[in-house]
């Protein structure tokens, strides 16, 4: 499913109707729940490749750094405070 998000019309379809879009693919309920919850640590744990997760981030408004902060168990601001030069985003 994440790979399909490399097409703009599919990104639009996902944003329009996330549940309907997910139902086109062979996702099980726990995978769908991880997507619904935007549980990025859980998705990685379930075997999603980070580069495919970035495509999911793109349609859900979650940048790499936001996903990263969540995986670290920090707020976005807390995470940025750990960086050498946080404007290079």
């Amino acid at each position: 499913m994440c790979g399909s998000l490399c097409r703009p019309e599919n990104r639009e379809a996902f944003k329009r109707d996330e549940e309907g879009y997910m139902s086109r693919f062979e996702l099980n309920e726990s995978e769908k729940n991880l997507i619904r919850a935007r549980d990025f640590a859980g998705l990685i744990h379930a075997g999603l490749n980070i580069y495919w997760m970035l495509k999911l981030g793109s349609v859900t408004g979650n940048s790499l750094y936001r996903m990263g902060a969540q995986m670290r168990g920090e707020s976005y601001e807390q995470f940025l405070a750990t960086r050498n030069f946080k404007d290079a985003v």
Binding site: C2, G3, L5, C6, R7, P8, R11, A41, I44, N49, I50, Y51, W52, L54, K55, S58, V59, L64, Y65, M67, G68, A69, M71, R72, G73, F79, T82, R83, N84, F85, K86, D87, A88, V89
Partner: protein, 283 residues
């Protein structure tokens, strides 16, 4: 005179550089240290006058999907499309290829027992394009060099070993020097340096490791290439394993190649390295 490799470049391909490039932000304080490092590199490349850039990179799920992901793949087309990797297509002209040269490389590499996937159609993404943006200025009509994209699997284990990548570089050198047209070739090894993008260790970097890697790449490249993936990932982060692509570039250079530039900048989550090498009598 046959073709020859005139130089090699090791450099990171961080996607945010492409975004900063497209938004005209490379001169802002956050990006200027990186942008400045490439000013002398582009001046050097202008003197080096390469006809072709062989770009060793990995696809991040733009043109190759995990259902069928090649260990090594090479472009053999006269043009490569700009691929959409999930964030839209960047406003860049298609990349100029050289199918005839590519097919010569393919024949020579396969003869040398490197059985790559041959792609007569290929879309390129940040792994390829960020290094191109940093090293070459494109105009509305296209790019100043032709390119050969050489894709390496560094994202879905099992990955090719470091020594295998180094040997691919050596085979690439044989392939270039047996082409009977007089082409000047640079090889770009892209990716890394230290970074981890998944799990609790997200954001991990190690400047100490990265500086060691740059030192050893210059002095003991074959020994460096023998480092296991496990060791590399433990010391520099899971995604730092991309650095095995630098071994392809280094393996393609002669023992007489001399280091010219070196730079390091690590503002956010990736150690961005840059190192260049020049072959004797290249300029």
């Amino acid at each position: 005179m046959p073709s020859r490799i005139v130089g090699g470049i090791g450099l990171s391909h961080v996607p945010s550089v492409g975004v900063a490039y497209d938004r005209g932000k490379l001169q802002t304080p956050a990006w200027k240290p990186l942008a400045d490092a490439y000013v002398p590199v582009r001046a050097w490349l202008e003197k080096l006058k390469p006809d072709v850039a062989i770009v060793v990179y990995n696809d991040h799920g733009a043109d190759f999907m995990l259902e069928k992901y090649p260990t090594f793949a090479i472009g053999a087309a006269d043009s490569y499309a700009i691929a959409d990797e999930g964030f839209g297509t960047r406003p860049l002209p298609p990349v100029r290829g050289d199918a005839e040269f590519s097919f010569h490389l393919v024949e020579s590499l396969i003869e040398d027992e490197f059985d790559l996937t041959v792609c007569q159609e290929m879309g390129v993404e940040h792994g390829f394009l960020v290094p191109m943006n940093l090293c070459f200025e494109h105009g509305p009509q296209g790019w100043p060099v032709a390119s050969v994209p050489l894709q390496v699997n560094v994202i879905q284990h099992p990955l090719p070993t470091g020594p295998r990548c180094f040997k691919l570089g050596q085979a690439l050198r044989n392939a270039v020097s047996s082409y009977d047209k007089d082409l000047r070739v640079v090889v770009l090894g892209t990716g890394g340096m230290s970074h981890q993008l998944q799990g609790k260790r997200f954001g991990f970097m190690s400047e100490k490791f990265d500086q060691m890697f740059l030192d050893e790449l210059e002095r003991n490249p074959e020994k460096l290439a023998a480092m296991s993936h496990h060791e590399l990932m433990e010391q520099a982060g899971a995604e730092a394993v991309e650095l095995i692509m630098w071994h392809v570039m280094r393996g393609a250079l002669s023992p007489q190649a001399k280091r010219v530039h070196r730079h390091y900048y690590a503002p956010m989550t990736t150690g961005m390295g840059l190192i260049t090498f020049q072959e004797p009598q290249a300029i």
